[in-house]
């Protein structure tokens, strides 16, 4: 895995990740809005995964297909399950004003293993994001954003996904390419966080998997988490020293 960030200057946070040939870019735009009525003290994150015809010949132009929508739902579930960001911190004033983070994840080159790349790029972009400080003017009751003062977001957890392609319950291939995915009989994605807790075990059907093979995959996913966190820390350190 290779990644860079700060690639999109118009976004509040961005990152680009390449896993093998699969290239995914994420841009985060923060906007101010009123919090939802059922959670007045929390902000929210809206992920959107886009698979344009650019990335692969199997995606046609038009409304998002099932794979893109299922991936968007999966990312939204991972964000909530892993408690990635404390949503209460995104709230500026209860029931009046909060941040909403629109995360647009776009695939530039689809060569399999989309979900892993999306999780890493989202994590990297959120680490990179800087939000201006917002105060509410007591007289006019309007929000004032101070662009000079910018604060990074506080990331609680580091969820990392590992995808596997299963062939008839006998062979399991980690990090499948598009060709391997199309020939496989089942796909499995395991998302773990740095405390070795599972945030998601996503296997949308396909041939069955025995308990021991599943355990094998989970162990591999835990090792992968450590590899990726080291990579993220290394990049964070190198950007800090560059500044």
């Amino acid at each position: 895995a290779v990644f860079t960030w700060c690639s999109v200057s118009t976004a509040d946070g961005s990152a680009l990740v390449k896993i093998g040939n699969t290239t995914v870019i994420c841009g985060i735009k923060a906007e101010l809005t009123t919090p939802p009525s059922d959670a007045p003290n929390r902000g929210y994150i809206v992920p959107n995964v886009d698979l344009p015809p650019l990335c692969s010949s199997k995606f046609r132009p038009g409304p998002p297909g099932e794979q893109a929508q299922a991936a968007s739902q999966f990312i939204a579930d991972v964000i909530e399950s892993s408690d990635l960001i404390n949503m209460e911190e995104l709230c500026i004033e209860k029931s009046k004003l909060c941040w909403v983070l629109y995360c647009d994840i776009m695939c530039l080159d689809y060569d399999g293993n989309l979900l892993d790349a999306c999780i890493i790029v989202l994590l990297a972009a959120l680490k990179n994001a800087q939000l201006p400080e917002v105060t509410i003017n007591k007289e006019t009751d309007l929000a004032e954003a101070d662009i000079q003062k910018k604060k990074p977001l506080k990331i609680n957890r580091l969820p990392v996904g590992s995808s596997f392609a299963v062939f008839d319950d006998s062979i399991i291939i980690v990090d499948p390419t598009a060709e391997e995915e199309s020939l496989s009989t089942a796909l499995l994605t395991v998302v773990t966080d740095e405390e070795d807790r599972l945030c998601a075990v996503h296997k949308p059907g396909g041939t069955s998997l025995s308990g021991e093979k599943l355990q094998h995959c989970i162990n591999r996913a835990i090792t992968r988490n450590k590899e990726i966190s080291k990579l993220v820390d290394k990049v964070t350190e190198s950007t800090k020293t560059a500044k």
């Binding site: 099932e66 794979q67 929508q69 299922a70 968007s72 739902q73 999966f74 939204a76 579930d77 909530e80 399950s81 892993s82 408690d83 319950d169 009989t185 089942a186 499995l188 966080d193 070795d196 807790r197 599972l198 945030c199 998601a200 075990v201 996503h202 296997k203 949308p204 059907g205 396909g206 041939t207 069955s208 998997l209 025995s210 308990g211 599943l214 355990q215 989970i218």
Partner: protein, 222 residues
């Protein structure tokens, strides 16, 4: 009455479930599946004609549509459709009907928790009712892990909201292995293994129910 049932819930017991088959005249197969208060109506059309853009040369194309109780299907329904579709694709013998389509339509009548499980169970009963050839049957069980670490099986909507983790598994009838897994919330590896074991045990009850209902239905035909 309700308090008695709530006490039972915490002790790995499925809610009262039932099913009815062949209630619609137009679909090739139809069924309802009720789990407690959650109720799903399923209709299956197939093998039927398929659009040239969607046809696969050597197998049937499976399409799943989940209609929510209110509003139009959104992103959440698409994710559920993907789970149901891939589970059905693994169970059906698709190579027997190349260049055809099998369409499964699921209508949510009432949602009181364990929705994805009920959808999968209704889909399986409808596929059986349509007489489509399958290599094995499947059933689905939902487990919720409460804040205290207790595992609740087949949770109601209220229990799902209170529990930090929710796991749904589809189990196959041949080897009792996990066919599909969809989880939200965070949990440890031991909790996952426990939930899988509990789901496999509960699935035996549901498979027995499938067998009994088919036996009862076909024993009338001489």
């Amino acid at each position: 009455m309700t308090t008695m049932m709530e006490l039972d819930q915490s002790y790995s017991v499925l809610r009262e479930y039932g099913s009815e088959q062949s209630l619609l005249s137009k679909p090739d197969g139809s069924s309802t599946f009720v789990q407690g208060d959650t109720s799903i109506l399923a209709g299956v059309y197939g093998p039927a004609e398929v659009k040239v853009s969607k046809e696969i040369y050597d197998r049937a194309t499976v399409e799943v549509l989940i209609q929510p109780k209110m509003g139009l299907p959104g992103v959440r329904e698409r994710a559920r459709e993907q789970c149901v579709r891939e589970t059905c694709e693994a169970a059906l013998l698709l190579t027997l009907h190349p260049r055809s389509s099998v369409t499964v339509i699921l209508q949510v009548i009432h949602d009181d928790g364990s929705l994805l499980s009920c959808c999968l169970n209704a889909a399986c009963m409808a596929l059986m009712d349509a007489g489509l050839p399958m290599s094995h049957l499947f059933c689905s069980v939902t487990c919720a892990i409460s804040k205290e670490g207790q595992i609740i099986i087949d949770p109601t909507a209220r229990q799902e909201k209170e529990c930090p983790a929710l796991l749904t598994f589809a189990i196959d009838s041949a080897e009792c292995n996990v066919l599909m897994s969809s989880t939200t919330g965070s949990f440890s590896v031991q909790e996952l293994q426990q939930c899988i074991a509990i789901s496999q045990k509960a699935s035996e009850q549901i498979f027995q129910f499938y067998r009994d209902s088919v036996k009862r239905r076909y024993s009338k035909i001489k």
